[in-house]
Amino acid sequence: MNAGLLGIEELDRAEIEAILARAKEFQPLQSQQVKKLDTLRGKMIVNLFYEASTRTRTSFEIAAKRLSADAVSITASGSSVTKGESLVDTLNTLAAMRPDAIVMRHSASGAPHFLSRHLPTPIINAGDGTHEHPTQALLDARTILDRRATLEGLRVAIIGDIAHSRVARSNVHLLSKFGAEIVLCGPASLLPVELEQLAPGVHLTTDITEAIRDCDVIMMLRVQLERQHEAAFPASEYFRFYGLRLEHLDLAKPECIVMHPGPINRGRELSSEVADFQRSVILNQVENGIAVRMAVLEKVIG
């Protein structure tokens, strides 16, 4: 096993705490005039994105550049993938160019885990199918901890298409390791009962008001129409039953924050008013993405 970052599930609490602490040290850099450090000078990072991504790819690129690493980004549509090359052959070719790490997003769950068995290069998982998105959970934790002293005992509601969400899985693993109470909420067809066994402290409900009641954090998930292989719920009534509106926030704790991994669909999973709500921290999440990914890159190849 190389020293990449494949998922949150395999990390222990101390490793997560170390990344979050280091990310906190990187935060002030974002508002300085000169935002660059020398840490990874001479290192090379390949960003290999087999799925569309704006924020994650840009965030990794910026994080690499802030640490003075060289970053090359490849998207599947412009590569040999379209010429029928297999994933393992593509990765072997890239590995032969001796990058220090490969940041990879892929639509197939487990693609980075499969590759890590055959490649010497560390792989950082930037989202694999419906499995994990570890840096998202880390930046979410960083964002919560910017406002709360601890994750322990927090009640966190994750609402939406849980079944197809890698963000939900990574967050469940992370929050559970720190003793948070996690309520997963969505239509029953997107909320398999086995989720309750994903990690300690997980509860399921199909009722959004029950999910939100007394919670400290609300994480809304994007409705992933591209992962709906069938009509698992009637899209026309989704917002009515699972869309987050201002009146819902009265049920939560007064200081409750609203999070979303983006990109947001106003009027589909949350109302426009909620998106612009003062305790919505969606843009803070984006900002923290860079500090957290700097900490991850430094840990993996520093």
């Binding site: 599930e9 297999s86 994933l87 393992v88 892929h106 197939a108 769950s109 487990g110 693609a111 885990h113 499969f114 055959h118 694999d128 199918g129 419906t130 499995h131 994990e132 079944a163 890698r166 899985r169 398999p192 086995e194 989720l195 066994q197 994903l198 292989h229 069938e230």
Partner: protein, 425 residues
């Protein structure tokens, strides 16, 4: 040419034999079974002291990939893997390219096997043309050309009316109907058993209900038509229960289990390792236990490997893109000994039944016994030989096995087909 297999523990479930004896094979047939048989002049002597001598094993469910997928397996290479696993007869599924849905393809397989195979090869014909599930294949013609059963394995017949007609035809031709039980709508897109592991790994699930729904439907149709109906590779608790109940009501139903389904459950999978990807998928521990119980109780009447070779390049992909299936001919006997006999779930004689009279009662090949006049098919194996499976030494052209490197106690030692040893350890 004759061979005297001396001093082995001869177990022949068909005749109830289980004692140390000699087996004389002459002219390609079993000539005599008894103690102190004198070797005829020029006979080869095989000393089977300390070994078990059984009727040649029958695997009623393999994929030999020829014609069409010779890069993964051929009739010749598959037959050599069979011989190395102690099998003397295999029945090959029709999902070749072209599909074995006509007498032409059936004859091709029979002819290729006659020239190149080291074990007996019996083709299974398709139920429907192209296994597309719509129009019935030329079942009578295929039978005349050598087909011993019909199945659309891997492409289950979804249309109940077509299945009913197929059962009616099969009954009139006295052929068994073998179904890969999977409701394709319920299983669509699935890559592994639907359960805690699939949810954890973000892989789409194949629910146990997708098998159960099909078994339930087909049992009703078997009762309606009186066909001889056989459930391939049974894998769920409820399906085992339904087949058991149907058998108690004298419906002519049988079922087989694979070594991987009685050995492994989804919790034994290596994450995203396609050597654990097959259909039906490795089920829950509870389902696996029910399959073992079904074997012990007599509901499951055959062990079949569902030997499914795939080239390395096909299995070296993202899990969701990899094809389903694993090879199994060379590890079946050892797994049956370790998982069923050694823990005391079944007797050695019962295990041999599952490899001989069990499949024979469905396929009616005229084999699976050691009586004088029967074909000279003999499997000699050890119950305590220690060995390790190295998939890179497999006779198969493919390497897709989750049992690579596993150490075994007990395994095949020699395989005789029609009076000739075709493999020896």
């Amino acid at each position: 040419m004759s061979t005297l297999i001396k001093n082995g523990r001869v177990i022949d479930p068909a005749s109830g034999t289980d004692h140390v004896a000699d087996v004389l094979v002459a002219g390609g047939q079993i000539a005599q079974v008894g103690t102190g048989i004198a070797a005829p002049q020029g006979a080869e002597i095989f000393d089977a002291t300390g070994l078990v001598v059984a009727p040649g094993f029958i695997d009623m469910h393999v994929h030999l990939r020829e014609p069409g997928f010779e890069h993964a397996e051929t009739i010749e290479s598959g037959s050599r893997a069979a011989a190395a696993g102690g099998f003397t007869s295999v029945c090959c599924m029709p999902n070749t390219k072209p599909v074995n849905d006509s007498a032409t393809v059936t004859s091709y397989i029979v002819e290729r096997a006659r020239r190149l195979a080291v074990v007996n090869v019996f083709p299974i014909g398709a139920i429907t043309k192209g296994s597309a599930g719509e129009e019935l294949a030329a079942i009578g013609n295929m039978k005349a050309a050598g087909a011993v059963a019909i199945s659309d394995d891997g492409m289950p017949v979804m249309n109940a009316r077509v299945m009913r007609r197929a059962m009616e035809f099969a009954r009139s031709y006295d052929l068994p109907v073998i179904q890969h039980c999977e409701d394709l709508n319920l299983s669509a897109g699935g890559d592994m058993h639907e359960g805690v592991k699939s949810v954890r790994w973000g892989l789409r699930g194949i629910p146990a209900a997708s098998e159960d729904v099909m078994v339930a439907r087909d049992l009703l149709l078997a009762e309606l038509t009186g066909a001889r109906y056989h459930v391939a590779h049974i894998s769920t608790r409820r399906s085992v229960a339904m087949v058991g109940e149907a058998r108690s009501k004298a419906i002519t139903v049988t079922c087989e289990a694979t070594p991987h389904h009685f050995t492994l459950a989804d919790e034994n999978m290596e994450p995203y390792d396609s050597n654990y990807k097959m259909k039906p998928p490795l089920r829950s521990g509870c389902d696996r236990g029910a399959v073992v119980d079904g074997i012990a109780a007599g509901t499951v009447t055959a062990i079949a490997t569902d030997h499914a070779p795939h080239a390395g390049s096909e299995k070296m992909q993202e899990f969701e893109r990899c094809p389903f299936g694993i090879i199994g001919l060379e590890t079946a006997l050892a797994l049956a000994l370790e998982e069923l006999v050694q823990p005391g779930r079944i007797s050695l004689a019962r295990m041999i039944e599952l490899f001989t009279t069990g499949p024979e009662s469905v396929m009616r090949l005229g084999r699976g016994r050691l009586a004088p006049g029967a074909p000279g098919d003999v499997t000699v194996f050890s119950t305590d030989l220690e060995w390790a499976y190295d998939v890179n030494l497999s006779f198969s052209r493919s390497r897709n096995s989750p049992f690579d490197g596993r150490k075994f106690r007990g395994g095949p030692v020699a395989t005789m087909v029609n009076g000739e040893f075709v493999w020896r350890r």
